[in-house]
Symmetry: none
Subunit: 206 residues, 4 copies
């Protein structure tokens, strides 16, 4: 008997595969047309299945949106988890942005700046999305504060709590602003952006 306690059954595996197919399709459709602009029909076609089948795996279009939101939240959390310094953070963000621009076909649950915008906008309408975002903001805040503290410690400085908070805010604004500008101004030079962010990071330790 290889039916160990938690090993997924064949049916469960298939269900997972299907959910993933739908989410992959939804992600790309949402990024292309927005949450409201993308139709179930488009997602179904992109996923290569009938519209009806989607409703076997998600009760709602909203449920798909929520799943995407949750997925992006997790991705953001995992990415931040391993970050040790401000410069590493800049490197991470710039890397993701460049990888995103290069891949015409974005697959996997990779970070997508347009989805990031879409989710933020949706949060002002859908309370469920807002709730997920609110919770996430707190953990992001903690992660960034830790980065700031670690960075300071590494360079032999001592920051009081007020200083940590201030710098955390700056870091957040910088990162979010970089993402937004990346979208708003596709002609922006990545190298220059990266250098600018790094420069601010340096001053954060002064």
């Amino acid at each position: 008997m290889n039916l160990a306690a938690n090993s997924p059954s064949k049916a469960e595996q298939r269900a997972l595969v299907q959910r993933t197919r739908i989410l992959d399709a939804a992600r790309s459709c949402f990024a292309e047309s927005g949450f409201h602009g993308a139709s179930i029909a488009a997602i179904a076609e992109s996923a290569g299945m009938s519209q009806g089948l989607i409703y076997r795996y998600f009760t709602n279009k909203a449920a798909i949106v929520h799943a995407i939101v949750e997925e992006q939240r997790q991705g953001r959390g995992e990415a931040l988890a391993g970050i040790e310094s401000c410069h590493a953070l800049v490197d991470l963000v710039m890397g993701k942005l460049e990888r995103w621009r290069d891949s015409s076909t974005r697959f996997g649950s990779e970070f997508d700046p347009i989805l990031f915008l879409e989710i933020t906008a949706e949060a002002t309408r859908d309370p469920d999305v807002a709730a997920v975002l609110a919770t996430n903001e707190q953990s992001v805040w903690c992660d960034l504060s830790d980065v700031i503290r670690r960075d300071a410690r590494a360079s032999g400085k001592v920051l009081d709590e007020a200083q940590v908070q201030q710098r955390t805010i700056v870091l957040r604004c910088l990162v979010d602003g970089a993402i937004l500008n990346w979208i708003r101004d596709p002609s922006m030079d990545p190298q220059q952006l990266r250098r600018s962010l790094d420069a601010v990071c340096d001053t954060l330790l002064t």
Copy 2:
């Protein structure tokens, strides 16, 4: 006949009033429901006119969106035009954000951060919107660069072109990031955000 060359006729004046009524309504509907979520019916009702009349002044729903985009672009330009220093810029942005949060009925052609998001997202889909945005980015870039230069001159510093560019990028990211964070994290303390931005502005002159 006082119908001199450029003085608008009565009919033209009326047309302008009507367009403004529609745009006011559209702005609030778009901010509330998004470009796709807001219906012509809702805009018409909010404008206190029939749906059909809207099509006398705008050929399309898209045309209304474009007008709103253009309007916000102008507003941004005018606001930046009078700015003399980084700190004044921070003050301007924070003032707009706080005024927006306080006004339950957002009205007039005031800056709206949600609309700002919506427009950015739409630019990735509608090439016309993207074009307007791209043009605008350049003039914003010039304005911000000027602010940086003026600030430097005022404090007796001399910056080479590379330094100006780098600081301009930082300024842009900070401002956009502040707007984004304002939406994503409604619990954020405005005073703290303002102090953080001011702090970075100080370092920009060091």
Copy 3:
């Protein structure tokens, strides 16, 4: 100015006409296919208009059902209002049943036994329908009791309240049962049914 206080405007008149067109179509579709079996598409086609237009006059399919229920309720009330004796009641009911059978194309808001069934069944599911029915039952009860009392008085008898109630129940069951049998057994002889009901009415006065 012929715009007297309550005289309906042209628009209101048109709206009324359209509502009536829809209700006429709905009545016949519902009678033919049942509340759930009849589609909005069928009603729209039967009414000779687009599906979308129906939603200008009724918010819901449920709203149409409710309007039909209300309409039948009123019809029943008005019909009962003028009844003076049990025999007149039997005559009324039988007349309506025969007229219904004869008219292949049932128009107007005439009583329809199949709708009557459909409404009763729907009341067990839709609380709104149930509420209308419950209220109606009371007024029907009063009307029938009055008929019983008047009949008794006319034949010089005195009935105590318990007797009135008992006979009212019998009357209700007889009428409803006649309607049900009329549907269940299309081969039933109307004359015989009428005689049977009349016979019971006679005994009610004994």
Copy 4:
């Protein structure tokens, strides 16, 4: 070999069990949501089996409806078969109605007044159902006539055929009307209803 001519094989027995499970589930779903409102999915879940399996035992959803109709017909026949007098009939009907109201989970092949309505309504649409009902009406007619005759004989009266027919009609209307009223007016007092029906039965023998 004990597989005598008519003894059902094990497979046949199983098939019977499965059919019964499906019909039990269908009955309760149909009573709750109506023939159109109840989905195969709901029936399958209620029966604790897959949707596909249902189609091994019934070709159609319509086939299930027909089976339910047939089943209720048989139940009605069997119930009437043992009836000796009008009062016994009233007792039977009232007993079934009260038992139905009390049982929150209606189960078994017990009589269900809502199903009774649903079937009658369906008969006006589905010719097959209408045919079953028509045949049934005749046998019910015979049964009721017999009850009338027996009752008369028991009380030493002689009725000519016309009288028997008239009273049979009254009996049918009373019973059907009682069922209909039971549904339409859930606040009705069972005792009073029973007394009223009994009172009419008494007059039928006068």
